[in-house]
């Protein structure tokens, strides 16, 4: 399946986009998404992100489903 992953802050800058589309296996997990994005970033020094699925941070074992809203969440720095 193809999923779109939203990007923010340093990750958006490093990948030069606000989102990327990934081709994933049907049984892909959050950890797979993170691994695929790390590969795209190559050797860039980036903060380790979390993954949000449908607007909530999930553990790496979470299965991704087609239609999920997926976002890469760098360490937050609001306020």
């Amino acid at each position: 399946m193809t999923v779109r992953v939203l990007l923010f802050a340093s990750w958006a800058d490093a990948l030069g986009a606000r989102s990327v589309d990934l081709d994933l296996a049907a049984d892909a997990t959050a950890a797979d998404v993170l691994a695929a994005l790390s590969e795209r970033a190559g050797g860039a020094a980036l903060p380790r992100p979390a993954l949000a699925v449908n607007r909530a941070i999930v553990p790496g074992s979470t299965r991704i489903a087609s239609g999920d809203e997926i976002a890469l969440i760098p360490p937050v720095a609001g306020g």
């Binding site: 802050a9 380790r48 790496g60 976002a71 969440i73 609001g78 306020g79």
Partner: protein
Amino acid sequence: MRAAIVVRPIDCSALLAEVAATSNGATVLFTGSVRASSDGRAVSGIDYDAYEAMAREELTRIVREAVERFATSHVVAEHRTGALSLGEISVAIAVGHPHRGLAFEAARYVIEEIKLRLPVWKQELFTDGTRTWVDARLDTRTPVR
């Protein structure tokens, strides 16, 4: 109670008016604003990025938690995004409460949770022309495995 992610300037008077009630004896307003220096470097402004849909939901959750924990419905919070100049307000929280102790605690709770949980990121622009994303929790956040 209300929570919002905004792109316009934050109007503190409007927030204070929103939590005003004659049941309240105490009101606390907290604002965070852009400082002229960061770790000794001269700053010219901050760009805030946000995952707006999630930030709106998370800020609403934080405000609701404050309402429940501190027993007042008069809690409002706004976080601004986009390009902010020195001195501009990035975040504001207003709390009205019958008693001052809980008004202070509720405002403090909301800003601490915002710092920990809100999917918002700041990029500091320095007067020397460079810019850096601030990764506040870089060393402490447990990454997804």
